[in-house]
Symmetry: C2
Amino acid sequence: MSYKPSDRLARPDSAELAAAIEILKQRFGERLSTGLAVREQHAHTLTWIANEPADAVIFAETEAEVIEVVGIAARHRVPVIPFGTGTSLEGHVNAPVGGISLDVSRMNAIREVHAEDLDVVVEPGVTRKQLNDYLRDTGLFFPIDPGADASLGGMAATRASGTNAVRYGTMKDNVIAMRVVTADGSVVTTASRAKKSSAGYDLTRLFVGSEGTLGVITELTLRLQGIPEAISAGICPFPSVKAAADAVILTIQSGIPVARIELLDGLHVKAVNAYSNLTLPEQPLLMLEFHGTEASVAEQSTRFGEIAADHGGGPFSWTTRPEERTKLWQARHDAYWAALGLRPGARAFATDVCVPISRLAECIDETVEDVERHGLIAPVVGHVGDGNFHLTALVMMEDLDEVARMEAMVDRLVLRALAFGGTATGEHGVGQGKAGYMPIEHGETGVRLMRRIKHAFDPDNIFNPGKILPVE
Amino acid sequence: MSYKPSDRLARPDSAELAAAIEILKQRFGERLSTGLAVREQHAHTLTWIANEPADAVIFAETEAEVIEVVGIAARHRVPVIPFGTGTSLEGHVNAPVGGISLDVSRMNAIREVHAEDLDVVVEPGVTRKQLNDYLRDTGLFFPIDPGADASLGGMAATRASGTNAVRYGTMKDNVIAMRVVTADGSVVTTASRAKKSSAGYDLTRLFVGSEGTLGVITELTLRLQGIPEAISAGICPFPSVKAAADAVILTIQSGIPVARIELLDGLHVKAVNAYSNLTLPEQPLLMLEFHGTEASVAEQSTRFGEIAADHGGGPFSWTTRPEERTKLWQARHDAYWAALGLRPGARAFATDVCVPISRLAECIDETVEDVERHGLIAPVVGHVGDGNFHLTALVMMEDLDEVARMEAMVDRLVLRALAFGGTATGEHGVGQGKAGYMPIEHGETGVRLMRRIKHAFDPDNIFNPGKILPVE
């Protein structure tokens, strides 16, 4: 069920499009670009999905400018595709019928830090690393860490998560409120800064994960965490994925508040060893982190080590030394690049699914077997505390047969996850690549309700058309 | 801004209503009641809002029956008001223009416990205590604890929370998925059992807190927690609300994973002492609970004690003995009844607001001063870790002047919370009582989007009309 551009998606009227771009050009001058290189860069995704550039790229600097762009685009019925850093993975920023790519990366001010309330107000172009650098002296941090240094607006739009989600949740749990420019040009503040509310429909959670299809995020209020007094981290090899997954289940059931618990399969460990010059045992490996006081992280680490041993795992070697921890997690964050190193010349096709944790080992084992049976190379890495795992398929794009086998394998992977009671994507989002699975995952009624939401918020379909739901 | 029944809300056609009830009577026999006592009991709310009974009450026993009722009601354009235990506080279950009260309390089966995945599948009429009794031997528990033994369907519908929310979140965070009967009679499953997903609009969070206005919940998948190995609990008096709030802020900033942190003002402590035969110091008091291992709860308790002392609080007396903990929390859960004891013959009018925690002390202090200035009696109790507090106004209902002063005082309270960057309700919901504040809280655009959601899901306005949004 690979993505093919749809000819059923309505193109904007070419005269209207030209008129809109002309008006915007006069208004934004050098900050509007129609050059192919810039347009293609703004349709770039880290996948094999074909590049579909917008007709123009605008670099907005204020919410007022976003309102202006949306107003002009709406009047001329021209698509608007919000753009942050372009690190999404499923064709989210493509412009299948053209339109305006609305780049908000220059809206990157950190507006207010409320240390007592553990929240921060930022513009959408602020990246997660920028935010954490800024916060360093406050004793606070923002825990959501997708692989890329993504923009926080984009992370909210795709409901991103990462390695810390098992303890701190996903963007769903860490966006307190947003300001969003809607299709009629008015701005909604989705919620107050109160930590909880029962006052009406949850607009915040509706915009989180909506992938730019319901409005343009212009401000975010995000939840922060205190930097833990002590952190321990370590690695633990296991004889099988099943043994590792069982240890993870018992760890979570026991209420050990693990902050990170990541699985690499043997192939991925091999890749990481080569890339990061390490000598990790090349078998299923858990990488863990614990947050708390000195005494608490020691206790958590010891208890995990006992659970691991009970499942045939170990030795669990852990440390609280910052430089060793940093090295460990840098290796984890470089896993994508490490995977590429397994097969020089290949392109990496990253996909993710998420299943109930009780089915995780079975789902991974069947997937690895499927990959091997079809002569493919695709290491596995997983946020196993959430039942979420990634496959990085390494494919020679000029080998069309191999590409076809890879596509079919990914299709089986997604259907397998759905059959196991899971979801087509745990954290990458739908974009174009997974839109075809939404009717299977959500059923006819679910898709109908989603279409109604889209229509209620964006009746002329100007916001990021052709994403999330399959074209009717 | 007290609630007045609106004559602008469309009444169902009386012939259509009679026809619908006749059909339902034939179908449900004794399980449909038109007796006044039953109808009034189903419009009962724990407030002063006038009772507005439905025309008939149906006791549904299966999802198929709910579908039937919704289908017949939709065909005849007759309102359907979902009903669980009737413990909501803002007129949620009233039938301002009549219709059918759809009682799902008999749908109370616990269907599946997935211990490895830490989730459970229940019917909507299961109550929180029933669920926790059932789970007792599994080592798992469901943490959300509003005061009443509410139904889980109702708790999802009102986005309930309670004393554990500071650690475990609210219903927003603990509902994994639901089955919901929609206006056209089709059923949607809002999500899979996967712990996280980025697959499309968040239907789960849209139904959580929708107060029965978008559909009828017929099944819930809920997140469970492991029962902590050790629990400590204790009380700590403070010289002022401000000192207590500052201690709470520092506790949370320090990353101490406090499970409960409740504030009673001096008046409420007095009420609790009298009701529960205790001798607590009658000044602002924090009641706390810590979850973890033996070593960890001891460490958390010690550290909190230090923070409290730094803010002039203490002594912090804590224990891990179950019988003492139970006594303490029973007193907290009886606070509503204790408050009633302060003024025999009075009715209690409970309201709640939630503000950023940095503004909490100021908001409470101004409120207490306002209460006293207007000769009212209204003790304060708060889930202070969330910035959420309750006022239980004790009013002689036959004293119309006092009732008017109470209403005006509650109005000022809500406007004060909104002015402090908070919300009109942290956990009670909107119902009828707070619908008038939604335009202030969400602005014109926010209310317009909410109306569009309502219209998209329920174009004929059959689900719980007259709730959440003010009648246009």
